[in-house]
Symmetry: C2
Subunit: 649 residues, 2 copies
């Protein structure tokens, strides 16, 4: 067992490799292969482990990413049939694609639409992103079938916090992964700017209304400019909503002026929060307005992580610029003192929000390690929104791949939550019909469901997970079976992808595939894409292709004529987005396998009217992650000479 420099030095000496110097233990360790094997395995490595160990010690995700030069994005764009004026290049490796393409290709039939979902995961995640990427790599680079992966843009918070990036991993990655994980083309920054402009407008408006007479307020809202006094377009829209048809500001009655100028927001009902794309736990609950200039109008508020903004959910669900603008205007931010909803449109900010979001609406084109095209677009928080990438990226990709091509996208969380929202919310918004579901499972997660010990991020895995244990696997397959059944409720064929780890035994792998097929999966195949790239997912790709030709009876699980709590405000016909833990089929994360007999406790029901869904909260949902004692950023660095990023994963 190697836990200190001294024993490492001894080991290096024993193995005849240079000893670590005092200054660079980390670097030297990587040169001493055998020493590292000991450190990790606590025994000499077995022959079959060598290639895996080589990979682990000599290639981090970012090193693999960097070892492959992406093709120039304008070349990629041409390859996939984009016209020059449909592409906005951002540097060498990223481009935005204009929505005009949808008009040009509107008569082109769509390709096949594949959703990658997962069983109930461990807190470590079971590899849905790597399966998504591995699958398109297999389809295009190995089977010569057009394909496209559509992925979420990750929040920068976790990249510097606990979780790390989200570009896939190993040999199934989007490259360059540092671009994917950092600012990308600025969409999340645009959302932050739009979200916070609206937040600032709410508090400033309350202050101005509270400190001015109707007349003063009205004179400022509708000023004389160069001798002329007129309403702006957005003020005309407000007049129309108030039923005032006058156009001359001088002719409004006192009552009309009062109705027009006062939104009369009840501060205690404000649901619109500020956001930052940083894990900043100290902003979870704050008091704002404490400077003298705000004249005592303090109130309690909070910051959420940027991807939790309703504007992100809108970006993911919108179908056009016009539609986005309408959704932005409809966002409800508070109630007035009579209990009526106050919207972004009432605050006069719809146009400005649309302007801030005008580039974000265009999907960003990147590529996998094997040159397959990828759209990265939108990443709504899976906790309180639907957690799926954008409708627009999927629509554009489905046109680009052509009728025989495949678009593969990923749902957040387990199938019970992520896939359910994908079907009932996203597919309803887009009108698109999925062809196949790929359900990702791991032996690790199945063992957990079979009664294995707790799996915790950061802590070493218990031996149940690193040694063969067929009983735990067999018992845990109940969760896989249940998720297959859930998928079948939607009428879509399901292929199980077993994401293989080096500790999985052949017997364990066989067992999972056998049970999966017995449980109704169209097929079940082990995948090695993480260590082998697309080559490791060829069998999966073949199974998916066959499944896509199956009969497809896709249907939503419920219609929108349900009666709901929010009906009385005219928001009755919206789909439901359950804000529930992904770590259990129930609301209790510790209940693994297939828990039954529980009653979901709904603590509150909230509405994202612009995005278009109601979200009941099952318990408390954190909307702002925190930084741990040792955040990821300790390992992140930039080489000022080569300009290379180190330590992202």
């Amino acid at each position: 067992k190697l836990t200190n420099v001294k024993s490492m030095q001894e080991n290096c000496r024993y193995n005849g490799v240079p000893e670590p110097t005092a200054d660079s233990v980390q670097a030297i360790c990587h040169e001493c292969f055998i020493c590292c094997c000991f450190a990790l395995c606590r025994r000499p490595p077995k022959l079959r482990e060598i290639s895996w160990l080589l990979f682990v010690f000599f290639s981090s995700d970012i090193e693999i990413s960097r070892a492959q030069s992406p093709k120039a994005v304008d070349v990629l764009a041409k390859e996939i049939g984009l016209l020059t004026d449909e592409v906005e290049i951002y540097g060498q490796t990223k481009a935005k694609v204009r929505l005009s393409l949808l008009e040009r290709l509107k008569d082109q039939p769509d390709g096949k639409y594949v959703l990658v979902a997962g069983i109930t995961p461990t807190p470590l995640g079971e590899g849905k992103s790597t399966v998504t990427i591995g699958l398109v790599q297999a389809l295009t680079a190995h089977l010569n079938i057009n394909s496209f992966a559509c992925l979420r843009q990750p929040s920068q918070g976790p990249t510097f916090g606990v979780k790390g990036g989200a570009a896939g991993g190993g040999y199934a990655q989007v490259i360059p992964m540092e671009e994917f994980n950092l600012h990308l083309t600025g969409d999340i920054h645009a959302i932050t700017a739009a979200n916070n402009l609206l937040a600032a407008a709410i508090d400033a408006r309350i202050l101005h209304e509270n400190t001015q007479s109707d007349k003063a307020l009205y004179n400022r809202l509708v000023p004389v400019v160069n001798g002329v006094r007129g309403f702006s377009a957005i003020q005309f829209a407000r007049l129309r909503r108030l039923g005032i048809s006058k156009t001359d500001p001088g002719t409004l009655t006192e009552e009309e002026i009062n109705k027009f100028a006062r939104l009369d927001i009840d501060p205690s009902t404000i649901t619109w929060q500020r956001v930052v794309d940083t894990n900043d736990r100290f902003l979870r609950k704050i008091t704002v307005g404490q400077a003298n200039t705000e004249k005592g109008f303090v109130r309690q508020a909070q910051f959420d992580i940027a991807v939790a903004s309703e504007i992100m959910a809108i970006l993911a669900l919108t179908t056009s610029l016009q539609d986005m603008k309408e959704r932005l205007g409809k966002m409800v931010v508070a109630n007035d003192k009579k209990g009526e909803p106050v919207t972004a449109e009432d605050l006069g900010v719809t146009g400005a929000l649309a302007v801030l979001m005008k580039d974000a609406i265009k999907p960003t084109l990147m590529q996998t390690l094997e040159g397959t095209p990828v759209f990265v677009h939108a990443g709504p928080f899976a906790n309180i929104a639907h957690g799926n990438s954008s409708v627009l990226a999927d629509k554009i990709a489905l046109k680009l791949v052509g009728e025989k091509g495949f678009v593969v996208t990923e749902a957040g969380f387990g199938a019970d939550i992520g896939m359910e929202k994908f079907f009932n919310i996203k597919c309803r918004a887009s009108g698109l019909v999925p062809s196949v579901v790929v359900l990702v499972a791991t032996v690790r997660a199945l063992k957990m469901h079979g009664g294995g010990p707790n799996v915790t991020a950061g802590a070493p895995l218990k031996k149940e997970y690193t040694e063969e244990n067929l009983q735990l696997v067999a018992d845990g397959c109940c969760n896989l079976q249940k998720q297959i059944q859930i998928t079948q409720l939607f009428g879509v064929p399901v292929v199980v992808a077993l994401n293989v780890f080096k500790t999985d035994s052949p017997a364990e792998i066989d067992l999972v595939c056998k049970i999966a097929k017995r449980s109704g999966a169209f097929d079940a195949v082990p995948c090695d894409h993480w260590s082998a790239g697309g080559r490791g997912a060829v069998k999966l790709a073949q199974a998916v292709e066959r499944a896509a030709n199956q009969k497809n009876g896709f249907k939503y699980l419920y219609m929108l004529d349900l009666k709901q709590e929010h009906c009385n405000k005219g928001f009755g016909n919206l789909p439901i987005c359950m804000a529930k833990t992904h770590l259990s089929l129930s609301h209790q994360p510790e209940r693994k396998g297939v828990p039954t007999g529980f009653i979901l406790p709904i603590s509150d029901v909230r509405a994202s009217i612009g995005a278009g869904f109601i979200y009941p909260l099952v318990g408390t949902m954190s909307t702002m992650p925190g930084l741990p004692t040792r955040p990821c950023f300790y390992d992140i660095d930039l080489d000022p000479i080569t300009e290379q990023v180190k330590g992202l994963f």
Copy 2:
């Protein structure tokens, strides 16, 4: 006098043009030229006013901007001698330029370096940006001399708040102005992300230190990963600073562990604030940490506008990636309980900050309305920082224009503050020597200094400013004279550019130019670039060219061996950045002309150690603007069909 729709309608009828309909007063007004002339002038227009009025009513800044199609930025890049791999294209109209160019052209002599500064302005601003842009348009498009404008990137806060954008105006603009004024290439967003990651790290660290024993803290900071325990590179750096030469985490003594693991930040000394690029007055003073998860560690804090971040000041002053990384690490965020400074490096976040800023360090290439190249790069808040665009953009531009070319850049505020900081702080950081100062004056501002009535943003100008008044002009020239003298203290020739408004009389214009020359200006010329583009600044360009060939005795006003308050922390040898109002030579905004006999009251002395200056506060300086009752965003809109932005100015 037209103040309502009815009288407009009458006027239109009288002039035989279509009457405004109820729905579109604004639009119809623009079609009725005579009616608008009446509205503005309150009398029939004079012949010489016609072209100006045509401009005002038919062309807003954004309409002029849109009427001109910018050349493709890759064409522009080629024209100015950039190699393909030195350019990172962002869409059709923006590109980032890589710093490698400085190495390639290191033996090329620099061009002439021109600073545009101003007299003490009115709150409306006197047109330094338009002069800067008009001047390069004249030099390149009309005199066929290579030139480059280097401008600041504006904050998005004022764009949606009171002030509007900052792309110049009229026929002296950077285009497309909506790109210039909005996200651009994401630099301010990157600064926000880096600034807030550091802020989150400070509070999280205090929480973790307060709730854990030395041992627990140390075990988390230096965990066993895959059986190996090692320090990260940034932790080794901290050990070195603490004088601990050990490399094996297992061998530190308890005392060493305590020193290593505890930063022991005194929360009352935290100077690092969070930022947003939004005018959000309710964040001026807040209380953070009120959620239960933060265990009672609440404290008072504030958000500043993003451009007030020290990271912005660093971006503006840095000379390379290596230098930027060092400056980021040196930023002091608080003191520990012994009164010693705590830096970003101590928090382990230097590398992550550099990674977040790796693209922001590259200047953004755009163009003027007449196709002249422009760098837009960095825009530090002029209140508490030096308010100048970046050293790197200037350096690159000086190489690109060649020995006979000109680089024109702008200082914030009046010459007493903006130019002083440009010379003593920015030129000291860059080592560059300015060739000419262009001092911008307006008849309007001179009248104010001569005793004219108050000038307030948003209120109509008093008649003293719209009618000839030679006495007010003559009296007000004292401020111009003083600013010329200040410039001469630095040993640089000064050319006065009188930015002409349509209300200025020929006699007023002559008077200003005469007094300016008598006061020591190398030359003084009226400019019409706003309405005539580069053609209107040709005489200015010729004067600048002649002045650049004058003898130049540039010198700093002070050396860095002054004794200062911050000396005892080893920060003694830094230049001074006075945080003083720009509305008076004194600290009292209402004292116009050349006030004397005042004593500057310094309320506090603060330090930006990473950026490299000390800033004494002269009174209170607001670092967060607010939204007024009717913010600019009421007029801003996006046409969802044409994708055009409306209402920016």
